[in-house]
């Protein structure tokens, strides 16, 4: 039974859409409980869950299950979890794999756990007034596959019990961090498109809330991130000092219109970098956040480049065009470039309510995409109807939003969450590995007493090696510090050489014409080129930093020794990659926006500088130009020479201005490079250091335990052996699960670009 949030109708378990109002049921959740996610409670809330990953369950046809067929009254069901739900239930996507392996009493998750139709386990029903006869009477409750997130949470909780048993608070802390990371995961969908195509309205319509300001005249000028928050709130990120990262200031929600709209004051606009809005909306609770961007203005505009840069850290693109016309050349070109930078994308055609011929437009766009070799889902929608559907639910179907919402759930949130889960799984696996090491050592000692000296010496060696890892002279430390130094040099050199090319081109352009006439164009061109250079340079930075992360992980792995069951091999390399990603893109205020800001800082900085150039340069140029006309009375030859001289002077002025500007850009970008790399270095170092510490402690603990076990009385030994066998089995099962989760992240469902794996969200860049 899933209760629709929108109209309250109780729907069949397998229903995707509410039978009465056609709301996408994945988003339907119980009322958010005020408690923090940390405290797990025990009852299992019935989950409003669809099975998105399984062969698409013909979306548009809502299960025609009449409510009458429901055996129970509608009301009690939602109440049950309401009172006890520890956590807002996020609509967790379900991975395909059913998981019969863990018959554990479910620990509580921030994720909706499947309604456990499993008759084998009598569900610990919460003490509620009149517990409903449970969903059992449902005729076909196929065992719902567990979500990757709930699996993970259960693994983490199991792990925590073990680490507490073994008195390893360090590992417990590690698990807590992992859990926190899982809880705070985000999946960002970027809404891009030309001006006035209804991007902000689309965001509003998706949420059925007026979040982004919408006006017939004024356009969005600042990227706006809409994400989940318990309390509605707004943060504006401003940059007062070009060499400092933007600082967030809280602002009242009512100010959003002024903040986000195009400001007539270019200074003010330059300073405001981005706006983050937090709303307690059920759809965002899954970690989904929507980034509303300013209109692109074509691939060759500065904004277009910045948007591209932002896409590198996004999980999906919603490219917005409207039904007034088919895709234009610049739009298609932008789309082509954009989708190569992002794991999921869709084309949204808005305003279908205004045009009778929107089906034609859809067909035409389909043809254009096919011709360009782009395979994208197309969603014709009417935001107008969707916004009205809040009052008149029957309009939902007509608005065409259901497939789009389903796309977001299945093709964006699921893979995004899977990727996030994969990284956490690797982390938990690392901890499990540490635990397993000790059990293994003890078991070996018990089962093969003759090999005891060998095991002990091996463990001692591992311990010593781990001790070596923490030393500053460790190879991985060297790799890291050398790598960072190299990286700084390389990235700076790359920027310099790119800017030099731009400089040369600009000089040629300036030489060819009179700056009085060509300056405006030149300036626009220059800004665009510098933006392109900036984005390419950032891409290089991210790519190389990721490589470095891998190299460090490899060095660490080698040094840690293969006999050590650290399992740093395959997965952990990926994991470190992600750690790096967080260093490069998560550590700043604004979270995932960081890379946008990184580019944004240079980019938005660009126009600012350009403005000062214009005012500095245009004035003399114009004055000189007029002076030349005045000389019209002077003889021909003299005038010609004079004109030539003045022109040369203007050209020199223009070049000097360009040079100053490029210098400034290089200065700021290099500073930025160093800052972010330093941060990356610190983060990597701390993480590996901590790991090394953990390994060391684990080895020591294993050694002690093995020693202790060997000295036990025979009777105790056999009891211990049985204990260990059970524990090992549990750990094994847990680790198998974790690996699968980690692997699932490596092959995002539906995405052809499997290679991107979790790294895709890291830098994505090439």
């Amino acid at each position: 039974m899933i209760n629709c949030d929108n109209c309250g109708r109780a729907n069949d378990d397998s229903a995707i859409f509410c039978t009465s109002c056609n709301t996408y049921l994945a988003w339907s959740t119980e009322k958010p409980a005020p408690t923090e996610p940390a405290t797990p409670a025990d009852p299992e809330p019935p989950s409003p869950e669809p099975e998105p990953l399984v062969p698409k369950p013909e979306p548009p046809s809502p299960e025609p299950q009449p409510p009458a067929a429901q055996p129970e009254p509608l009301a009690p069901e939602p109440l049950t979890p309401d009172s006890l739900a520890p956590e807002p239930l996020a609509p967790e996507p379900v991975p395909v794999r059913p998981d019969p392996a863990v018959p554990q009493p479910e620990p509580l998750a921030p994720e909706p756990i499947p309604p456990v139709p499993d008759p084998a386990i009598p569900e610990p029903q919460p003490p509620v007034p009149t517990p409903p006869p449970s969903p059992a009477p449902e005729p076909k409750p196929a065992p719902r596959p567990r979500t990757s997130v709930s699996q993970l949470i259960s693994a983490i909780d199991q792990g925590r019990t073990l680490t507490q048993d073994r008195q390893r608070p360090d590992l417990t802390a590690r698990l807590e961090t992992a859990k926190k990371k899982l809880d705070s995961r985000t999946v960002t969908a970027v809404v891009v498109g030309e001006f006035k195509r209804g991007k902000s309205t689309l965001v509003n319509a998706l949420l059925q809330t007026a979040v982004c300001p919408v006006d017939a005249d004024i356009v969005t000028a600042v990227p706006t991130l809409v994400r989940y928050g318990e309390q509605p709130g707004l943060t504006a990120y401003r940059q007062t000092d070009p060499s400092q990262p933007p600082v967030g200031y809280p602002a009242p929600l009512s100010q959003i219109a002024q903040l986000v709209s195009e400001s007539p004051d270019p200074d003010e606009q330059g300073r405001l970098q981005s706006v983050t809005v937090e709303v307690p909306h059920r759809m965002l609770r899954s970690g989904l956040s929507l980034l509303d961007t300013p209109g692109v203005g074509g691939l060759d505009s500065v904004h277009g480049q910045l948007t591209l840069a932002a896409l590198a850290s996004a999980d999906a693109i919603l490219f917005v065009t409207d039904a007034a016309q088919e895709l234009t050349g610049p739009e298609l070109e932008f789309l082509k470039t954009a989708i190569s930078r992002c794991p999921a994308a869709a084309l949204v055609i808005t305003k279908t309510d205004l045009y009778g011929h929107w089906r034609r437009i859809v067909e035409l766009n389909q043809a254009h995409l096919a011709k360009a070799g782009i395979d994208l889902p197309i969603f014709p929608v009417s935001s107008f109807l969707r916004l009205r559907a809040a009052q008149r639910p029957e309009l939902n179907q007509e608005s065409g939003f259901a497939p789009l919402v389903e796309f977001l759930a299945t093709a964006v949130v699921v893979p995004g969450t899977t990727r996030a889960a994969a990284t956490v799984a690797q982390e938990v696996d690392f901890v499990a590995g540490q635990l397993a090491q000790q059990s293994d050592a003890e078991r070996v000692v018990l089962t093969k007493p003759q090999s005891r000296p060998e095991v002990l010496s091996k463990l001692a060696r591992v311990r010593d090696q781990a001790a070596g890892l923490t030393a500053a002279s460790a190879t991985w430390q060297q790799t890291l510090s050398d790598g960072i130094a190299d990286l700084v040099a390389d990235v700076e050199h790359d920027l310099q050489s790119r800017l030099r090319t731009v400089m040369r081109d600009v000089e040629t352009i300036i030489d060819q014409g009179d700056p009085t006439e060509t300056w405006t164009d030149t300036e626009v061109w220059l800004r665009r080129q510098v933006a392109v250079v900036g984005v390419a340079n950032r891409d290089l930075l991210i790519e190389r930093a990721r490589e470095l992360g891998e190299r460090v992980a490899e060095a660490f792995d080698l040094e840690a020794g293969t006999e050590v069951e650290v399992e740093l091999s395959q997965f952990s390399a990926d994991l470190d990659q992600l750690e790096l990603a967080s260093a490069a893109s998560l550590s700043m205020p604004g979270g995932r926006l960081q890379s946008l800001m990184m580019a944004g800082r240079t980019g938005i900085f660009v126009p600012m500088i350009a403005f000062s150039i214009v005012s500095a340069l245009i004035t003399p140029v114009v004055a000189v130009g007029i002076a030349a006309t005045l000389g019209a009375g002077i003889g021909g030859k003299l005038l010609k020479d004079e004109r030539k001289r003045q022109r040369t002077y203007r050209q020199q002025q223009a070049k000097a201005a360009v040079r100053r500007y490029i210098d400034e850009v290089a200065f700021v970008m290099n500073k930025d490079t160093r800052d972010s790399l330093r941060k990356t270095q610190r983060q990597l170092r701390d993480d590996f250091q901590e790991r090394a510490g953990l390994i060391h402690r684990s080895a020591t603990a294993a050694l002690t335990a093995a020693d202790r076990t060997a000295k036990l009385a025979p009777a105790e030994q056999s009891a211990r052996a049985a204990e260990l066998a059970a524990e090992t089995e549990r750990l094994r099962a847990m680790r198998t699960n974790l690996r699968e989760l980690a692997l699932a992240g490596g092959r995002p469902a539906g995405s052809p670009d499997a290679g991107r794996s979790s790294g895709g969200r890291a830098g994505g860049g090439r």
Binding site: A216, D217, E326, G329, L332, L354, Y355, G356, I361, L630
Partner: protein, 485 residues
């Protein structure tokens, strides 16, 4: 002012004609003459799907240019006045020849005779309609089209990249509601000096104006507000000083509204208000909701195609509230609201009175180019330059252009006054002096005298900068002309 200017240019052309070395030169001279004496060439330009062909049809009051939901116009097409209807095709290679055409669905479908649109330079449609008497209209393919060569063709008509004289004398630039990038885009047409891209010859049209306000009933008011903001924007102002919101489709349909269509609209308007609201909620509902109305789905689809959702909503509203009680009233009301009348008035004000100067400007530019390239009498080139430098009309235009592009800086109130004086908002003496249209000759005289003394004082004031002095002198001369005329 008499037409000394054209006469002087014609004299040069005659002289050049005699010394023209080749047939080609002679034919080019003929072309320049035709340009000078013929109607003003107005190009309608804009991005793809801005509604260029629709606006053209609205201006002609007749459906000639084909329109479609998809990209439609692929060939530059000239529409000019002729005694008999015909379509002439100018291929890239080969001689121009007439082609048969079809007019089944209303618009002209010219048979290209197996040629691909890419092989056609342009089409010329001769059509007997009074609306083309003073204006030759060029319909252009959209800029930023998916097929790049289509866009390139428009560039050829409008811009003068390679130093060639652009084909059009004036431009009606259709902006859809967009952003400053469009301004940058417009600038690319206007960067050239001299005749080609002065702000004198461009009018901005905020096309598909109803869509800006999402086809709500107040859409045109919203569009008007947007247009005013655009006009006030300095960068845009110097490119096209005037921006008019126009709903081309509505304008076109309004002028060709049929009695049967009115009857259908009236039938819908008589339905209960709830039903009407429901029906007009979306375009889809309007054409496909079954209802007890005497208007079939097919008929409704026709209405939607003719009027657009806004048009239907507006018409129903007008009929329901009794503003329009018959088809001619509805037609008048819709034409008024479509902004078409205003556009026509502005066309007359901005172009038709100035068309002589604009044409002369184009002719001089073309002539200069021709004389420079061919072997003609050496004196001719000097003569053209003399005309170009001496004509007061040209000076006015140049100064106006300078003024708008920021080349001359004066105090804001002086700038505004000077702009008007130079004919920035119309060439009639009253418009130049900023007087109401019905001002008496005496008022005009008085105002001119006041302005004259003010400008004279300004011109001779020792603290006035040199450029400002020159500007003031042009103003003085204009005023003297007004007083003398």
């Amino acid at each position: 002012m008499t037409d000394d200017l054209s006469a002087a240019i014609l004299a040069v052309i005659d002289q050049a004609q005699q010394s023209a070395p080749t047939d080609k030169d002679r034919s080019q001279l003929d072309e320049i003459r035709a340009r000078l004496t013929g109607p003003l060439r107005l190009a309608i330009a804009g991005k793809v799907k801005a509604g260029k062909s629709t606006l053209l049809n609205a201006l002609l009051g007749e459906e000639l240019a084909p329109t479609d939901a998809g990209e439609c116009t692929q060939i530059v097409t000239w529409y000019f006045l002729d005694d008999r209807p015909h379509a002439t095709l100018f291929p890239l290679d080969g001689e121009p020849h007439e082609r048969p055409y079809d007019r089944d669905g209303g618009a002209l479908q010219v048979d290209l005779g197996g040629l691909r649109p890419a092989d056609v330079d342009h089409l010329e449609i001769g059509w007997p309609t009074s609306r083309l008497r003073d204006l030759t209209i060029l319909d252009t393919p959209g800029i930023a089209s998916i097929s790049a060569d289509v866009s390139a063709r428009t560039q050829r008509v409008l811009a003068a990249d390679d130093g060639r004289v652009p084909v059009a004398d004036a431009i009606l630039y259709l902006l859809r509601h967009t952003h400053s990038s469009d301004i940058r885009f417009l600038e690319s047409f206007h960067d050239d000096e001299l005749a080609h891209g002065t702000p004198m010859n461009a009018i901005g049209v905020l096309s598909r104006a109803d869509e800006i306000g999402s086809c709500r009933l107040d859409s045109m008011e919203v569009a008007e507000r947007v247009a005013q903001r655009y006009e006030a924007e300095p960068r845009l102002h110097r490119l096209c000083p005037v921006i008019v919101p126009v709903n081309g489709l509505l304008g076109h349909t309004a002028t060709t509204l049929r009695e049967a269509e009115y009857a259908m609209l009236a039938a819908i308007a008589q339905a209960p208000i709830d039903e009407v609201t429901e029906l007009l909620l979306t375009a889809d509902r309007f054409v496909s909701t079954p209802s007890g109305l005497p208007v079939t789905e097919l008929e409704r689809e026709h209405l939607l195609g003719r009027l657009g959702l806004y048009g239907v909503r507006l018409s129903v509203e007008l009929i329901r509230t009794g503003v329009a009680t018959n088809s001619s009233e509805l037609s008048t009301e819709l034409t008024e609201r479509s902004g078409l009348n205003r556009l026509r008035a502005i066309l007359v004000r901005q172009f038709e009175t100035r068309s002589r100067v604009l044409k002369a400007y184009s002719a001089v530019a073309a002539l200069t180019e021709l004389l420079r390239s061919g072997t003609f009498e050496p004196g001719l080139q000097a003569r053209v330059e003399e005309i170009s430098a001496g004509a007061h009309e040209f000076q006015e235009i140049r100064l106006l252009s300078d003024l708008r592009s920021g080349g001359v800086t004066l105090k804001p109130e002086r700038t505004e006054q000077l702009e008007r004086l130079l004919g920035g908002s119309g060439h009639a003496p009253t418009a130049r002096l900023g007087l109401p249209d019905d001002a008496t000759d005496d008022d005009v005289r008085q105002a001119a005298l006041v302005a004259l003394s003010s400008w004279q004082g300004f011109a001779t004031h020792p603290l006035t900068s040199r450029p400002a002095q020159l500007a003031a002198r042009v103003a003085t001369r204009t005023l003297e002309g007004l007083l003398a005329g």
